[in-house]
Symmetry: none
Subunit: 126 residues, 4 copies
DNA sequence: GTGGTCTAGACCACA
DNA sequence: GTGGTCTAGACCACT
């Protein structure tokens, strides 16, 4: 599924959140697919069930998944609300990273071409 | 200079690190400029001096600034090494953020146009 | 009839309880009307019969319906007892919700006008 | 501060959430007031610190409080965003409660007059 | 079987 | 001192 890096600065539950977002965004998990159960993921990643549950709650509150109690957690159809605030944060992140790349001497053209590649890949995997 | 957000999830010292990186990247601080002293910044931001010192240590270890003991901290000429690894991380960040924006329903064209804006702004302020 | 929301935090049986209360309160189900059988509702809502039965038991214990064994469940003539205690709870709920609306910046006039609308709708559908 | 009811159907952390909302809404806790620390409340209510922390996180994600790490939790100036969705939920709650009151035989006029009282009280405590 | 809640007790980073 | 994270293990309601 995805790997945890126990030495990372990111907390475990955040790695799980980002990992699952990645699976959704890349299309490996599709809308209404069922996520592995808390207990299963817990065993698979050798992480405490509470930690998994925390990650799931975080994903739910951000609108990525929904919970049907007694049945499991499922991938949302798409982000429930376009959420301009969240998009703003992402654009801010982009800005910081791009400026840093520019400062490090990366050419504008190279950056743009790599970004276009990313966008194409993203489109293809849908 | 830059704003601190005490409520942010980012720790204060990280915000200072990123803030100073921002000043350098945007050209407000140029190579070999002297940074404000720990004491001054501490007073200006109303933050504990230890926190400032920690931020400076972090910037130094990442190669953004260098310390001349007894004189202060100065902006490095440029990133000491082209550091392909760091660039790779930044591109990876870009990829994650862009894919997330796409998944949230943002149009490819809008993303690219906003990125071009960012790049233009970065170039102009140098 | 009414909609179930599997994703809701409310449990299914509570949604059914509230849904049926709604039908009674709005006048769609009148005193001594027969409720659909557990089996029918179960099929209609694609929900486990035990869940329906649990909802019916809950409604009966609150005095909204009565059971004639072998014949089915029927809507009570009216709430069996004026039940000042229950009314008190409802007023307390109202108070909490209204104060929260006020705190969120909703105007007093808007709140009152919306409440008057609710009351009118309730009266009209009877 | 407020009382917990261990026999209540509401979970402990929800009671804490609602209790603190109540203190804020009634004006006992004002904007930028500091909440008791997790550990203090934990001792005061004889509840596990994790449970308090969960309540605080919930309040934060709903915009009622903000956290300054290392310093404590503080009351937000007012709801950060008017959040139409949340208001809609509250109006729906109002509707359910009012319809039930009507059905129980409470007069329209009495309901409205009691609601106006509530609103007046709410205004006075600000 | 599922997720949700709660306790007890530990360690960490930040200020 | 603060909140944040994590583990271990328990019980509960719902399906």
């Amino acid at each position: 599924m995805f790997q945890l890096d126990l030495r990372s600065k990111k907390s475990i539950y955040e790695q799980i959140v980002d990992g699952i977002k990645g699976l959704i965004v890349s299309g490996e998990l599709k809308a209404n697919d069922r996520l592995p159960s808390v207990r299963d993921l817990s065993a698979q990643l050798t992480v405490n069930p509470n930690t998994i549950a925390k990650a799931f709650r975080s994903l739910e509150s951000q609108g990525w998944i929904y919970t049907v109690s007694g049945r499991g957690c499922f991938v949302s159809e798409s982000m429930q609300s376009p959420d301009a605030e969240q998009a703003g944060k992402l654009y801010a992140e982009l800005e910081v990273a791009i400026r840093e790349l520019l400062f490090m001497g990366n050419g504008e053209d190279e950056i743009i071409s790599r970004i276009k590649e990313i966008i194409k890949k993203g489109g293809a995997s849908k």
